[in-house]
C-alpha cells in the first residue's frame, strides 16, 4: 500500500488517544462521592454549605475536592481549566463578579477590602505599586452606588508610606459617608507589625485620620507578647462598633538546666471602640483558649470556637459585660481528632463547624449553630456515599468552609 506510513500512524494515534479520552470521560468519577448524613436538626441548614479540602486515595497524590449537598466535585491542582475557572474563588467574590462585573474587574480574590450594604459596594485596598516601583503604597478607594451604577473612585497616598514593608487591609467599614479601613502593616527594619485605622471622608475624597491602635509584638523586662486580630463579620448588616484582638502574654522562665524559654501566662482580649477611639483590655476567662483564627467578632459579641474534652465548643463572649453569654458543646465533633482540630465559619448569624479530618474510621462531623440563641440547628457527618468507591486508607482534609 502506498500511504501505509501516514495511514497507520494516524489510525493508531486516533484510536489510542481517542479511546483514552473517551474512557477517562466516561470513567470520570474514580473518586468517591461524599454526602452529609444528618443526625439531628434541619437538613436545609447545610443546603448552601460548601466544603473544600484535599482528598487522598491510597498512595495517590491529593486532589482538590468540593463537597456540597448537590454533589462532590474534584479538580486537579495544575489543570489549565482550573486556572480559567478557579474552584477556590470565594463565593462572595464570585457573586460580586457576576452582579458587578465592571466594578470587580482587576480586583483580587479577597473579601477583606470590600464592604457591602443595600445601597453601596465599597472597595478600599492598599495598592503596592508596580513591579518597577514597589512599596509605593496608595489607598485605592472605589464606591459603587448600586442603584445608579455610578462609581466614585480616588487614590490617596498612605501617610509615612516609606516606613512600611507591607500593608494589608484587614477590614473595611462604612457609615455616614465615613469610611474606616483597618490595616496590618510591618515597619521596615524593626520586625514590628502594627494595626492602624484610617478614616476617610468619601465625599471630600480626603483622609481624616490615621490611628495606630496596636502593635503585634511587644517586649518588656519579664517577657514578650503578641497580638492577633480577630476577624469580624459584617454580614449582619450593622456596623461593627469594635475591633478586637487577642493578646498573648509570655514570660521568660528559667528551666532546670538553666535554659530560658517563654511560657504563656495570660490571654487578653483587647478591644478598640471605633466610635470613642478607646482601647480596653480584659483578661479572658480560663474556659476560653483564645485562638484568634477560630474566633469571630459580630457586633459586641466575640465567638470562640475551640476543641475541648467533650468535643467542639462554641463560646459567646460579650465585650460590654465582659462575660460569657453562652457555651454550647457539640459532642459529635469527634474528640479523637484533637491533633487536627476544627474548621469554622460564621455566615449570616450562623456558625458552621466541621472536623478538619475524616477517614474510614472517623467520619468528620458537621454542625450548624444559630448564634443568637445558641441552638444547634444541624448535626451530621461527612460520609462516603458508596464505600466501595473509596480505598480503605483514604483521607479527607478540609481546609475551608464556604457558604453560598
Amino acid at each position: 500500500m502506498r500511504y501505509w506510513k501516514i495511514i497507520s500512524i494516524t489510525i493508531i494515534s486516533i484510536l489510542a488517544i481517542g479511546a483514552f479520552y473517551i474512557q477517562s470521560a466516561l470513567a470520570e468519577n474514580n473518586f468517591p462521592d461524599f454526602t452529609f448524613t444528618i443526625k439531628s436538626g434541619d437538613e436545609e441548614a447545610v443546603e448552601n454549605l460548601m466544603l473544600q479540602g484535599s482528598y487522598y486515595g491510597e498512595g495517590e497524590k491529593g486532589q482538590n475536592v468540593t463537597i456540597q449537598t448537590t454533589g462532590t466535585a474534584y479538580s486537579n491542582n495544575n489543570s489549565l481549566l482550573d486556572l480559567i475557572n478557579p474552584y477556590y474563588i470565594n463565593p462572595k467574590i464570585k457573586r460580586l463578579q457576576k452582579e458587578y462585573r465592571g466594578f470587580m474587574r482587576g480586583k483580587e480574590n479577597n473579601i477583606a477590602p470590600f464592604y457591602e450594604d443595600e445601597k453601596l459596594l465599597v472597595y478600599a485596598d492598599v495598592d503596592w505599586g508596580s513591579m518597577i516601583n514597589d512599596q509605593d503604597f496608595t489607598f485605592d478607594i472605589e464606591v459603587l452606588e448600586k442603584e445608579s451604577g455610578e462609581t466614585e473612585a480616588f487614590e490617596l497616598e498612605v501617610p509615612e508610606k516609606n516606613k512600611y514593608d507591607y500593608i494589608y487591609v484587614e477590614n473595611v467599614q462604612m457609615a455616614d459617608e465615613e469610611l474606616k479601613v483597618i490595616t496590618r502593616q510591618s515597619v521596615k527594619r524593626k520586625n514590628q507589625n502594627e494595626f492602624h485605622v484610617y478614616r476617610f471622608d468619601v465625599s471630600a475624597q480626603k483622609l481624616i485620620s490615621d490611628d495606630l491602635i496596636a502593635s503585634y509584638q511587644e517586649e518588656n523586662d519579664t517577657g514578650w507578647s503578641y497580638t492577633d486580630l480577630i476577624s469580624s463579620s459584617n454580614t449582619s448588616g450593622e456596623e461593627n462598633k469594635y475591633i478586637a484582638f487577642v493578646k498573648t502574654i509570655l514570660e521568660d522562665v528559667q528551666g532546670e538546666g538553666g535554659e530560658i524559654y517563654s511560657e504563656e501566662v495570660a490571654k487578653e482580649l483587647v478591644t478598640y471602640n471605633l466610635e470613642t477611639k478607646q482601647m480596653k483590655s480584659t483578661e479572658l476567662p480560663d474556659e476560653i483558649n483564645g485562638e484568634s483564627h477560630n474566633a469571630v467578632l459580630i457586633g459586641k459579641m466575640v465567638y470562640f470556637g475551640q476543641d475541648s474534652e467533650a468535643g467542639g465548643e462554641l463560646i459567646a463572649y460579650n465585650i460590654d459585660s465582659e462575660e460569657i453569654d453562652s457555651n454550647q458543646t457539640i459532642d459529635l465533633l469527634s474528640k479523637e481528632q484533637e491533633d487536627f482540630g476544627l474548621l469554622m465559619k460564621i455566615h449570616e448569624g450562623k456558625m458552621y463547624v466541621a472536623n478538619l479530618f475524616s477517614d474510614r474510621d472517623t467520619n468528620g462531623g458537621i454542625a450548624v449553630i444559630e448564634l443568637d440563641t445558641g441552638e444547634i440547628v444541624y448535626e451530621g457527618f461527612i460520609n462516603v456515599e458508596n464505600l466501595k468507591t473509596a480505598p480503605p486508607g483514604y483521607e479527607l482534609f478540609l481546609n475551608e468552609i464556604m457558604v453560598q
Partner: protein
C-alpha cells in the same frame, strides 16, 4: 490533496527507521523497567519479611505498596521518553537541513514540484505532529500492558492496581498527557505553534544565511513577546485587569494569529527569498 498526502508520507518515510527504533527502545526499556522494579520489590519484601522478620505492615509503611508509579519514577521509564522528545526536537531542525546538506541537495527537487511551496512547509509540520501523536499513542497502549506484567509478578497483597488514567495523573506523564481532551488540544495546539515558529526561523536562516540567523532570532523573540504580552503587561503593571476567561480567549486568538503569521511569512520566504 493527494500530492500533500504523498509529501507527508514521504517525510514520514525518511525518518521511519529511526522512529521505529525509538519506539522499540521505549517498549523494551519500559517493560524491562517493570520486570526489574517488580522483582527487586519482591525480593526486598521477602528479605524484610521472611529474613529480618519485619512485620508486613511496617514494611508497607516504609516502602509503600508496589504499583506502576514506582516504575514511572525510574530511568527505565522516563529515559526513553526523554530520548524520544530529544530526537523529535532535533528532527524539527534536521527535517529542513537534511534537504540542503543531504547527498544530492534534495531541496531542489522539492522546490521544483508543481505544488504550492507552502505545502512543503505544512507537510513537514504535519509529519512532526503525527510522530508526536504516534509516541503518545504508543505510551497510552503500553501503560495497560505494563500494568498486566506487574500483576503477573507481584502478588495481590503487595500491589495497587491503577488504570492508565490514574498512572498518568500521579506521574510526570501528566505534563505530556493532560487529563481532559480540551487541555490536550490546547497543549498540542501550542506545540504546533512553536514548531511553525521555529520552522519560520529556519527559513529566515536559509533565505538570508548569517543575517537570517539574527532575523530568525528576532522573529522568535517577537512571537514570544506577543504571545505572553497580556500576562507580561499585567505582571509589570501589577494590575490584573482581565478576568481569567478573557485572558484565556485572548491567548487562543493570539496563538491562532501567530500560527497564521508564521505560515504567511514562511509562504513569502519560500516563494521569494529562499536560496538553494
Amino acid at each position: 490533496m493527494t500530492r500533500f498526502l504523498k509529501l507527508v508520507n514521504f517525510e514520514l518515510g525518511r525518518f521511519m527507521k529511526i522512529y521505529l527504533a525509538l519506539i522499540g527502545i521505549t517498549i523494551i526499556s519500559q517493560i524491562a523497567g517493570v520486570i526489574i522494579k517488580s522483582n527487586s520489590y519482591i525480593s526486598r519484601a521477602n528479605e524484610a519479611i521472611y529474613e529480618d522478620l519485619v512485620p508486613k505492615e511496617e514494611f508497607f509503611a516504609t516502602e509503600g505498596l508496589m504499583s506502576v508509579l514506582q516504575v514511572t519514577r525510574s530511568l527505565w521509564f522516563m529515559g526513553p521518553i526523554a530520548l524520544c522528545i530529544a530526537a523529535l526536537i532535533f528532527y524539527i531542525f534536521f527535517i529542513w537541513y537534511r534537504d540542503w546538506f543531504g547527498k544530492n541537495t534534495f531541496i531542489y527537487r522539492l522546490l521544483m514540484l508543481p505544488t504550492a511551496r507552502i505545502q512543503i512547509f505544512l507537510s513537514k509540520g504535519v509529519s512532526i505532529l503525527l510522530m508526536v501523536f504516534g509516541f503518545v499513542a504508543i505510551q497510552l497502549m503500553l501503560l495497560p500492558i505494563e500494568s498486566v506484567i506487574l500483576k503477573w509478578i507481584v502478588p495481590l497483597d503487595y500491589r495497587i492496581d491503577m488504570t492508565a488514567g490514574e498512572i498518568i495523573q500521579n506521574s510526570y506523564l501528566q505534563t505530556l498527557i493532560p487529563s481532559t481532551f480540551i487541555e490536550f488540544v490546547l497543549y498540542y495546539g501550542a506545540g504546533i505553534m512553536a514548531v511553525f515558529i521555529i520552522f519560520t526561523a529556519i527559513l529566515f536562516e536559509r533565505s538570508f544565511r548569517l543575517k537570517g540567523v539574527l532575523l530568525g532570532a528576532i522573529f522568535v523573540g517577537m512571537t514570544v513577546l506577543v504571545f505572553f504580552s497580556p500576562i507580561l503587561i499585567m505582571e509589570i503593571m501589577q494590575t490584573y485587569y482581565l478576568y481569567p476567561i478573557e485572558i484565556f480567549i485572548l491567548e487562543i486568538i493570539l496563538g491562532l494569529m501567530l500560527i497564521s503569521v508564521s505560515i504567511w511569512t514562511s509562504h513569502f520566504l519560500l516563494k521569494k527569498k529562499i536560496a538553494v
